[in-house]
Symmetry: C2
DNA sequence: GCCCAAACATTTGTGTCACTAACGAAGGTA
DNA sequence: TACCTTCGTTAGTGACACAAATGTTTGGGC
């Protein structure tokens, strides 16, 4: 009974969902480690990126666009606000809402985090040629577009 | 400020690690839902598959081959043993170890779960042509092979 | 033979993440 | 008015990855 050289049997390795999950773990770790070095998590980056691209938004809107649950958004915004990256003010037009606004400090922070995330992407995709990287992105986009809403509230879509 | 039709900004969508994570969530959900309908989780399937392919093994070996932590393996094997899918006996040759063996019931269960997992794979990859499915698998395999060991014990490989 | 380092199975605990349930406050509509 | 929904918030659940510590057992060096 000599120890086999291959740790994971071929049968399991060939299962796409396991393959994808494995790559996702690696990718998340690489991104997470870099962001953690700056005291950030991926959600901070996602929120800042959405604010920079689409302008001020309510928390519910940020939830939909980033994929973070409204419940979890609270803590993320608390942290971003504590760091001075965003302002959270009551919406005068609709007092149920908070208007979340990117600050100058937030914009600078996004710039920094953006670099880190981009570095991580490069490391993740390093073993692929540029053409392969593009193809992978294309295929993954096809999958996400097809499997759009897992089961979100149907009344959200316009 | 009309509500934009696109929930997620293009900038975030284009990030490979986010793309991968999104697909992984969808894939995990599709697999998980099917397995849950039979009261199983993916780890049950993984352990059964390894046992079927490589024969009886110690818990530590199963840990290495499935990727489950030794700590978590205990509960998984408890559940599989309670369901009569595996036998867990002390190894007479090395009494530190348990020998985990697939039972006839376990083999039948694996057959069933295998079908469910295969169905899920088909649904996940549905939007891709067979050639694209193959290419995606190839690219993901390249990535996993390159990013091999996060930090496993170096003395395992023989 | 004895001693020590390692492997093993196990328990317990931690942190992250996706997600649900429930609440009060506010708005829209009939 | 009453009703239903959205919003922000708190609290809690369950799966998962992982660390730390414990007790048992094994193998190697002496």
């Amino acid at each position: 009974m000599s120890a086999p050289a291959e740790p994971t049997p071929a049968r399991l390795r060939a299962i796409p969902s396991r393959l994808i999950a494995g790559v996702a773990v690696v990718a998340d770790r690489l991104v997470g480690e870099r962001l953690a070095a700056e005291g950030a998590r991926k959600w901070h980056f996602a929120v800042l990126a959405v604010l920079a691209e689409s302008g001020p938004a309510s928390q519910a809107e940020l939830s939909r666009r980033t994929g973070i649950y409204r419940s979890d958004m609270v803590a993320v915004l608390n942290e971003l606000a504590d760091a001075g990256c965003v302002r959270r003010e009551a919406d005068t037009a609709d007092r149920r809402r908070n208007v979340v606004t990117l600050t100058a400090a937030g914009r600078r922070r996004l710039e920094r985090l953006d670099t880190l995330v981009a570095d991580a992407q490069r490391e993740i995709l390093a073993p692929l040629t540029p053409a392969e990287q593009h193809e992978l992105t294309r295929l993954l986009t096809l999958l996400t577009d097809h499997h759009r809403p897992p089961h979100p509230h149907p009344r959200d879509a316009g």
